[in-house]
């Protein structure tokens, strides 16, 4: 049983920690409150090569395995979860293109995506379909050498920067089961009829845009059909989701770690009754509980990442995402309690952690729907516990 990172992973983590501590932590609170786009931080992510973490080396990427992939998201989220968002859907989309794209699509997009010169996201969710992806209404009708795409996508991270934005569509709306008629189209920025119509106002997860995107008779060339064959979209998208859950589990660990760090530091310097409040058992109990569940969450996130490296891991990634996201929220709330009144103030970090933590249980498959995924896997005997 070996719970240690290898040497390369430790070096990645050391660089990331230093980057996050110097470039993200000092500005996160102010920029988040100003609603400022973190352009300089994105430039730093580019220099580190982080836009290429899921791009194969032959296209200039780093081709990281799931464990170092998780490390990246844990560390970024420790600084500011919104920054992890900028890299999250980009990385999943790159991986999907690398896995399922045609040779020509990979050559066309991946080298520039690896450097961050091009960026991307994923267009799945719609106003009336999130968890139930087979219920999407966006359609793509073939017209000569183009598809005519009509529909609306919601909650699209990076929509204003994505080029291309892969969108899940129905190329055959009448197919049964529905997934057989679903495909992914790589929609280039500037495609006529493709418009980012609004930025959705939100409680947290700031720094990156979450948008409504309208496809109004958008003309997408046939060569932008991911993989070159219709009917594979659902499978292509689902293959990205295990990594997506690892991503959210790792972000949750990052948030929980920061909540713990803030609570511990504050408890040591805040005085009451002539003693630092860390001397009081009521505060100690909170610190111990947060540290314990945080460490359990970390082990679970990396266990799930390791499971993905070994093969199919629906249940493991589902469990990790559920558990870690709940730990993140609990850690943020406990850290606020340790801070007392200041925890509720926007002059301190923990209120942002609280606002960001809530999304972790909603995004990338709600925890409830993931519980059903985990249960199915257990009942069918595909996954075992114990």
């Amino acid at each position: 049983m070996d719970f240690t990172f290898d040497e390369e992973q430790r070096e990645f983590r050391a660089v990331l920690r230093s980057f996050v501590d110097r470039e993200i932590v000092p500005v996160a609170r102010e920029w988040e409150q100003e609603g400022r786009y973190p352009t300089q931080i994105v430039a730093g992510l580019k220099r580190l090569g982080l836009f290429g973490i899921t791009v194969p080396e032959e296209y200039g990427g780093l081709d990281l395995g799931p464990v170092p992939f998780a490390l990246v998201f844990e560390e970024l989220a420790r600084g500011w979860m919104g920054i992890a968002g900028i890299l999250g859907s980009h990385s999943l989309s790159c991986r999907m293109i690398a896995q399922h794209g045609t040779a020509e699509q990979k050559q066309r997009y991946l080298p520039a995506l690896a450097t961050g010169e091009r960026r991307t996201g994923i267009g799945l969710t719609e106003p009336d379909a999130g968890t139930d992806l087979q219920g999407i209404r966006t359609t793509a009708r073939r017209d000569g050498d183009h598809y005519i795409v009509t529909g609306t996508k919601m909650w699209i991270t990076n929509a204003r920067h994505a080029d291309p934005l892969p969108c899940l569509v129905k190329t055959d709306p009448h197919a049964t089961p529905a997934h057989r008629g679903m495909s992914v189209l790589l929609v280039d920025a500037g495609t006529p009829g493709f418009t980012v119509t609004k930025d959705i106002p939100k409680l947290g997860y700031k720094g990156t845009e979450s948008c409504e995107v309208v496809l109004d008779d958008a003309r997408v060339p046939v060569e932008n059909l991911l993989g070159g064959a219709e009917g594979r979209g659902m499978q292509q998208v689902l293959s990205a989701l295990e990594w997506g859950r690892v991503n959210i589990a790792a972000r949750s660990v990052g948030i929980a770690q920061r909540a713990y760090d803030e609570a511990l530091a504050y408890s040591r310097q805040r005085m009451a009754f002539n003693r630092p409040i860390s001397d009081f058992q009521a505060v100690q109990l909170k610190l111990a509980s947060v540290a314990t569940t945080l460490q359990a969450a970390r082990l679970m996130a990396y266990w799930a990442a390791d499971a993905v490296a070994r093969g199919r891991a629906d249940a493991e990634t589902g469990m990790a995402k559920i558990f870690c996201s709940e730990v993140a929220l609990e850690a943020a709330i406990e850290a606020m309690k340790v801070h007392g009144g200041y925890g509720y103030s926007t002059e301190y970090e923990v209120e942002r952690l609280y606002r960001d933590a809530i999304l972790m249980s909603i995004g990338e498959g709600t925890n409830d729907v993931l519980r059903t995924v985990v249960a199915k896997s257990l009942v069918r005997g595909q996954a075992r516990v114990g």
Binding site: E8, E11, F12, V15, S18, F19, G44, R47, L48, G49, L50, G52, I53, L62, L64
Partner: protein
Amino acid sequence: MKIVVLVKQVPDSGVERTLRVDDNTVDRGSAGNVINEMDEYAIEEALRLREAHGGEVTLLTMGPEKAAESIRKALSMGPDGAVHVLDDALPGSCAPATSKVLAAALTTLEPDLVLCGSESTDGRVQVIPHMLAERLGIAALTGARKLTVDADAVTIERQTEEGYEVIRAATPAIVSVWDTINEPRYPSFKGIKAAKKKPVRTLSLADLGIAADEVGTAGATSEVVSHSRRPPRSGGAKITDEGDGGVRLVEFLATEKFV
């Protein structure tokens, strides 16, 4: 252009450091070991020169086996390769002995330019560039806050307390830099991966034609004979305002030469 950067592994200055009880040399086992901070600025400057003028950047380190970790970390910033002078006789070398070893290694590397940090955070003697210049018969331009290279010459702005001096010398030359010269880059992930495959050549004293008794504690020209802990800080001056607090504060600052 062939650039060699001198890199030293030092005990982390961010944690408490000590000397060894038995021989009063730096205890390299107690604290974490890192690249001497000022050397990172020298590496960054070398990489910028390579980007502007082409050529190659080689790191040169003299140090124990553990220094290999720092060499690899430094390589992840982007240099092409490294030379590690490693020998059981080296620990405890004084500055003249260190310069003898480094000069011998530099002679084999034939650089156009040698860059180093202005001081190391452990020894802080600041004499190595001068000693190397003397041994190699080249110019030493020390304390650079800016560096430019053209045809066969190097020009620096030498940082002084009052401002700066412009110094120019023919290459090959050795330049030491301060942390005002640039902002060192973070190693990229690709750089970390690539660093493992970069050549690191190990040289022994025999390879350099230096006898064991010329270096180390045996050949040291100076010796630390004793050491003791810095006394704990005293409480400092407290000024109670009795209507003249401001004046007394200014007087204090003036006496201590803060203003």
